[in-house]
Symmetry: C2
Subunit: 285 residues, 2 copies
């Protein structure tokens, strides 16, 4: 199926975009890795979301979810690892599946973690964001798995089940990796290094040899996610209509720059869909 | 008193700006001619204000007011009829009072009515927006009073009490002008005409001679309100930071252009205050 709109991201910008796409009767798909944006849920007290005085992050998340559910909108809980333009439409990769859409709205938030040195250079050359897509390439080999979130633990275990040896680096507490061939490393890598392909993970005080590296995270840097996307200081460049430099690709929320505010993000999700609708009707003519 | 910020307008953009100015501890004044934006209150059903599914306009207005009141924010119910830059600060005229502020956020909405031909040309030359400022100039004279809203009826009556003869044009139902020297005209003027000063009101089927014209309305066109403000098709030109072409003047909401959406307006009110705060700290240095 060719969707009118693919929305990527489940924070307030994504929620607002999904609500507006639904109201405007568009055929859309909404990728959101969590039922509530993790960052929203962690916020202590939000006083400046006009209309909801003094809500906790959890309450705001619950309220937004409630709005979504009341409209019968569904999330697809998959992580998009690549967006490619092909013949006037966009192909979105999610694990070993792909989806097609006429337009894309990026509601990616801001990355909590900067990419590791070498991560983006070696992407596709031994570094992968996608266990299901690339896991099979490392059957019987030695891999490193950076797992940024408990939600990705089952993917880390899947990778362990394929590899001969897996160095797993959990970036959170209460990790539970049960695979016998897994060696837990509680240090942050400073570099992924290699030649034509990645072949080692470098730490401050040493390094390990690997055949491949998996980085399991929900937020991939926008320029890595969408080839050719113009960014500045890590933020996606947009105009007042929230158009990016790529026709058909729009962005909303924290990923378009400061201030990092829920209300700003929700407002931009709303505007982005209106711009998309104009774009779709202009393209059709 | 010199305020940090003057916010003009009581719709969702103004509400959101006031909330953020309060949270960011700014010394601000908020001009809002009504306790709820009239347009919001009239909206039937709003489905896309993220977090408030299926609210009526009245409910949204009530909810926003509630937020404002819970924070102890007060409105000044005055209509600003002019904003002038003087020596690095702004003077705002409201009737026969004036206020001073370092920055201004225009949350003017969009005008329901276009100005009458000649209205802006003759402003200050026989056409006035302000009964209390200019009423005394027309003692014992013949005036026309365009009254766009029941809220301004007391100003129309005040003008009648000064003038010898007043032609009153109410633009709403259930008008009640009790002055004996008032003649009610239920036609819309097509032009205010004259030479050096206005001297007649023209209708499709005739005209009347007058010494002055009062137009009582809450939304004055942005370019008329703020001298030198750049607009395009009636919308205030702003960048992503919501800066206008005048340093220290910002704008948010419907007045900055389409889409005319509550969520977009509230988001922009939030962004505008953050931009103002950066501006104030840059100016101070």
């Amino acid at each position: 199926m060719l969707y009118d709109i693919a929305i990527i991201g489940g924070g307030p910008a994504g929620v607002s975009a999904a609500i507006n796409a639904k109201i405007l009767n568009k055929n859309f798909i909404w990728f959101s890795s969590h039922s509530v944006s993790r960052k929203v849920a962690r916020a202590e007290l939000i006083k400046n979301y006009a209309g909801l005085p003094n809500v906790t992050g959890a309450e705001l998340g619950w309220t937004l979810n409630n709005h979504i559910e009341s409209m019968g909108i569904e999330r697809v809980e998959e992580v998009i690892t690549g967006v490619y333009e092909t013949g006037g439409k966009f192909t979105l990769l999610a694990g070993n599946k792909d989806y097609e859409a006429k337009t894309v709205i990026l509601c990616l938030g801001v990355q909590a973690q900067k990419p590791v040195n070498g991560e983006e250079e070696f992407l596709g050359r031994g570094v992968s964001y996608c266990a299901t897509c690339d896991g099979n390439l490392y059957k019987g080999k030695t891999i490193a798995v950076v797992c940024t979130d408990k939600n990705f633990e089952h993917e880390a275990e899947y990778l362990c089940s394929l590899a001969k040896k897996a160095y797993v680096m959990p970036f959170y507490k209460d990790y539970r990796i049960s695979a016998e061939n897994a060696e837990i490393i509680l240090k942050a890598p400073v570099e992924f290094a290699g030649g034509l392909k990645v072949n080692e993970v470098v730490f401050k005080d040493g390094k390990i040899a690997v055949d491949g590296v998996f980085v399991l995270k929900s937020s991939i840097s926008p320029a890595t996610l969408v080839h050719g996307l113009k960014t500045e200081d890590g933020h996606i460049c947009v105009n007042r209509r929230l158009e990016t430099n790529i026709a058909g690709v729009f962005a909303a929320g924290d990923c378009t720059g400061r201030p990092y505010q829920y209300m700003k993000a929700a407002g931009e999700g709303n505007v982005a869909v209106h711009s998309v609708v104009e774009y779709l009707s202009a393209v059709k003519q």
